[in-house]
Symmetry: D2
Subunit: 177 residues, 4 copies
């Protein structure tokens, strides 16, 4: 089986460390060869983000909404996700990410805003119908030297969470039948 995965990066500057963190998380979480990966760097789309309608943006929105797993990654601005990421998500109708497994990722300068992914970005994704399998992930940018180790530990926790969720899934009505 192959699943579709999308990384959405909300940094107004392209090719950011935030993007690297998100891509590393996907690589550590999933079996190689088990997924198709798409990366949307919103920095490439700022000119179009407030255009309405926009075929280009609609196509991006559709790709994320049809993913099995999406990682939403942003630097921490004012203790929360960027306006750029929010502007992208604002384009969805209510429930526009229904059924997408979503991992919220924020990068920050120090621990001060550690709660951001869980109290700000996760509820936003959940409002759109996405499902967040655990804590949001906060990465201190100065720790890039330990990226593999830190992201690896987070990936292990998500994998363990997903396995636990699957055991509940097995006995829900209309699923186990």
């Amino acid at each position: 089986m192959t699943i579709t995965v999308t990384v959405v990066v909300g940094n107004p500057k392209p090719q950011s460390r935030t993007r690297t963190v998100a891509e590393t998380l996907v690589a550590k979480l999933l079996e190689p060869g088990s997924y198709d990966l798409d990366v949307i760097d919103l920095a490439d789309h700022t000119a179009e983000i407030f255009a309405w309608p926009s075929e280009q943006m609609a196509a991006l929105n559709a790709r994320v909404a049809s993913s099995d797993l999406a990682v939403f990654a942003s630097p921490t601005y004012k203790a929360t996700y960027t306006g750029l990421l929010k502007a992208f998500l604002d384009r969805y109708p209510a429930n526009g990410l229904a059924g997408v497994t979503a991992i919220p990722v924020l990068t920050g300068a120090d621990l001060t805003h550690s709660m951001g992914p869980t109290v700000n970005l996760a509820p936003l994704l959940v409002e759109l119908g996405a499902i967040v399998p655990g804590r949001g992930f906060y990465f201190v940018a100065g720790q890039m030297d330990h990226l593999d180790e830190i992201v690896g530990a987070a990936a292990e926790e998500y994998a363990a969470n997903l396995a636990r969720l699957a055991s509940v899934a097995a006995v829900t009505q209309g699923v186990s039948a």
Copy 2:
């Protein structure tokens, strides 16, 4: 397979409608016969909730922590969960609900506090290591006549979410291998 399920009710008054809502959600979500259910009505334990140590409370905490699924249900007080529910959760060490699939439920008088389960109760459970498979569930108390229908729709959404999560779980590293 049989899973263990616990309902924790944070209403200072016992046998509340909040408890009924939570129990109904479990009944609608899971296949009959697929689970063992335990209900902890915290109203029965207010005298002990601030005792430290307490064998009685420790036993309750352990039962919830070892559940596969736990529903945490509370009336909405001041836009969020009750102090009674929080006092129970405060007894856990860090990560004390690791791996428990948790559904946050708040009941309220009208729609004003609809965001409470998602922005207040869900992050609290996640902080403890629990995994919330979707939105928190908010139930308007005046709708008890439509309990089956409203809770049924919520249960269907959780079941669908869990099925989607299971499809991601299948390709995580160390799980699919």
Copy 3:
């Protein structure tokens, strides 16, 4: 004495009802003739909002930061403020709204997201150093017929709050001396 007041409107569509609500709140809250009012409709600046640096945006940011009172008004998108408003606020450095008295205003279709101004927009403004004198204000868009009455009641509450705060201000160290 004259104070400076700014209304910042975060609706991607110009001349919105959200703007009307915010302007009405200012008119009801302050004595006529006691203030200079500036309205920034961010819909007029979407093309420039992600430009960096930008003299035009820097000038707008400076006008708000030097205000005595600023009303930040946005429609509710995904249970919170718009990406457009956030993108404007993202341009500030840490503490960029220090000392500005700020009133958060969200308009929404129904009561479902009533908590948004208090749990989402207010903390964002406070993170920037602004001071929010009470609840955030949530206005149900279908109530435009009762605009004067509803906004008038909110204005009275803010005025009462400000008077109470002034009585505390009078005895702080270095102020009363």
Copy 4:
């Protein structure tokens, strides 16, 4: 003029560092002799906190509600205020702290939960009608050696904020008239 000030401490253990932090904040913020101070250490009232009705608790609630300024201080449990503090606040009716200037204080082991006072405790107090003049205050418990300096800086910021609010208060309708 003399104002009434109350410190409410939500630590289940009495005479905590959290209490010391809150009392220091009051001493640094206000002019000596300008206020009457009352300290409520909720650890002394755990046996009564879920009793209903309770004359003892009603008297405590009334003292806080009639204060000009109240400091609500709690250790950080699970990223937010304690269940004990919440249980005390749950005893108020809607709007029970109307017009009280309130400062939220959380103490914690490290910076991880720095956002707690602003995103969790402040909105709770505001929901009750209190007015929070700026950020919530987070104090890292290991910094007790620098208590005077750190709390002093926070007090200066609150004093400056209150002065700014007073300048807006001066031109509100029905107040300046």
